[in-house]
């Protein structure tokens, strides 16, 4: 049985319908990339799973149970964590306090401050600084570390490379690599197609709120992606 099973999901972003009858599956421990142009519905898709955007109950099954429309605070307790687009760090909290907020739901698991600092050593040096004084890459590390602190079974990352230098992006994906598989599935929204293909097991391409392509990341060709991306 897959960890996330999405059948016929339609969802709105404000008054605008962003997703139409979507179908998607994420296996236990699988890493999935979602690509697509701006406005294809990628962020809304993650937000619907995380409970930020309303969704019909039966449209999203997590671990076999319907979770569509539950509030995000209930979903994090079940093991769904979102690294939101633009990081959304708590500005008046220090780096360490931001990370500790990630553990607010008290979900048992392997993650601790020490382990997050092990993955992102730079954060240890900066742990007492205000989160907003950090560089963009470091802020992204805090946002990822904060999500990991909730011991997720599904980690969703929304455009973590947005606005970051290529070397910084490479660093972050390098740190995420060893976390793939095992007990945690990942759902990554990524603009950089090369990065998305090389990091994931499978990928989905969204176009105007519908899945336009899906397959093993190693099997899809550039021609397929470009036609799925821009429409035939």
């Amino acid at each position: 049985m897959s960890l996330v099973d999405i059948r016929g999901l339609s969802a709105c972003y404000g008054d605008f319908q962003a997703l139409f009858d979507m179908t998607c599956e994420v296996g236990e421990g699988e890493t999935i990339a979602i690509i697509g142009a701006n406005g294809a519905g990628k962020s809304t898709f993650l937000k619907a799973i995380a409970g930020v955007v309303p969704a019909p109950s039966e449209a999203i099954l997590f671990d076999g149970k319907p979770i569509g429309g539950l509030r995000s605070m209930e979903l994090v307790a079940r093991g769904i964590a979102l690294v939101p687009e633009g990081r959304c760090l708590f500005a008046s909290l220090s780096v360490e306090e931001n990370l500790l907020m990630g553990a607010y739901a008290k979900r048992p698991g392997e993650w601790s401050l020490a382990k997050v600092y092990g993955v992102f050593p730079r954060l240890r040096e900066r742990r007492h600084q205000s989160a907003t004084t950090l560089s963009g890459g470091e802020q992204q590390m805090v946002a990822i570390g904060r999500a990991l602190m909730s011991n997720p079974r599904l980690l969703m990352c929304d455009e973590i490379s947005l606005g970051l230098a290529p070397s910084v992006i490479a660093n972050i994906y390098q740190a995420l690599g060893p976390l793939k598989g095992r007990h945690m599935a990942m759902l990554i929204v990524e603009q950089d197609i090369h990065q998305a293909v090389s990091f994931s097991d499978r990928l989905y391409c969204f176009q105007e709120g519908r899945v336009s392509l899906t397959g093993q990341s190693t099997a899809v060709t550039h021609a397929q992606i470009s036609s799925a991306y821009f429409g035939a």
């Binding site: 939101p84 708590f90 500005a91 907020m101 607010y104 739901a105």
Partner: protein, 290 residues
């Protein structure tokens, strides 16, 4: 010509009462950007609550009733936030202002109905007239000293909660970004209810002290609210120690004004408020990052 040292000390101690009245207001604004226009009436309501409890139980000191008053006020605040104020919260700050304004009218008229317009006072077994000498000819009342000490203690405890506990961390995170705090598992409705509960428990302390220190009427709330507001603004929004400092500035200004002429007491406080607004519009100790 009065004794200026005496006037300033009395002003500082009076500032303790203003600081105490303002602490809950400051907390509610800081956590959920909610301006509670009924805060003064809630303070006066808790003075009446102390009065009722004292009469029913027959204890001779309102200090003994204080824990019960705080618990009851916490429960009122929790329920009020869950059942009423949470529904009024949205991006627009006007809605909660209107709702709490309505609450203010309801509370005032409810108290008038129940207790008549007569002035009341809490009897503290002679403590209200007791005084101690500080040396150098300075004599201060025991009650104002107690009020000031409680204000410092309450501010210290609130500060500790906000900056040293998990609850406080959640308060600050939710204040920064409620949607992302939800992603962390924070139930903001519940958290806001706890914040209002704490704010009203502190209002319970302020109300009981107000009732011991001076006589009060069902319609005393708006005055209490006005001074509390001024203390919060002078101190800087979102800063609890700033609120205490704002209360002291206000108290000292009123004392100095009264030193010239009793007609100047209130006016001097409001002038000090306006001067601070003109010179430092963000208050004396604005929250970092604002």
């Amino acid at each position: 010509m009065g004794n200026w040292g005496d006037i300033i000390i009395q002003g500082i101690l009076l500032g303790g009462l203003y600081g105490l009245s303002a602490a809950g207001l400051s907390l509610m604004f800081g956590v959920m950007r909610l301006v509670n226009v009924a805060h003064g009436d809630m303070i006066i309501a808790s003075a009446f609550l102390s009065l009722v409890i004292q009469r029913l139980t027959g204890v001779d000191s309102p200090f003994l009733c204080l824990p019960l008053v705080c618990v009851l006020m916490f429960a009122c605040g929790f329920g009020l936030q869950r059942l009423v104020l949470n529904r009024a919260l949205n991006a627009d700050m006007l809605r909660p202002v209107l709702v709490t304004f309505g609450l203010s009218v309801v509370i005032q008229n409810g108290m008038l109905e129940a207790f008549s317009a007569d002035s009341q006072r809490l009897q503290a077994n002679g403590l209200e007239v007791a005084s101690v000498s500080l040396g150098g000819g300075l004599v201060v009342g025991v009650v104002p000293l107690l009020i000031f000490a409680s204000c410092v203690a309450v501010t210290g405890v609130l500060q500790w909660i906000l900056y040293r506990t998990e609850l406080g961390r959640a308060f600050r995170a939710t204040s920064d970004d409620p949607v992302t705090a939800g992603l962390m598992g924070v139930n903001d409705r519940n958290l806001f209810a706890i914040a209002t509960g704490i704010a009203l428990a502190v209002a319970g302390i302020a109300g009981t002290f107000t009732g011991i220190r001076s006589s009060f009427y069902p319609t005393s709330g708006p005055e209490s609210l006005l001074f509390a507001f001024e203390a919060v603004i002078i101190g800087g929004l979102g800063s609890l120690w700033g609120t205490l400092a704002g209360g002291i500035v206000l108290g000292v200004a009123q004392g100095l004004g009264a030193g010239f002429s009793s007609a100047w007491q209130m006016l001097a406080g409001h002038i000090a408020f306006l001067v601070v607004l003109m010179v430092r519009p963000t208050g004396l100790f604005p929250k970092r990052g604002n």
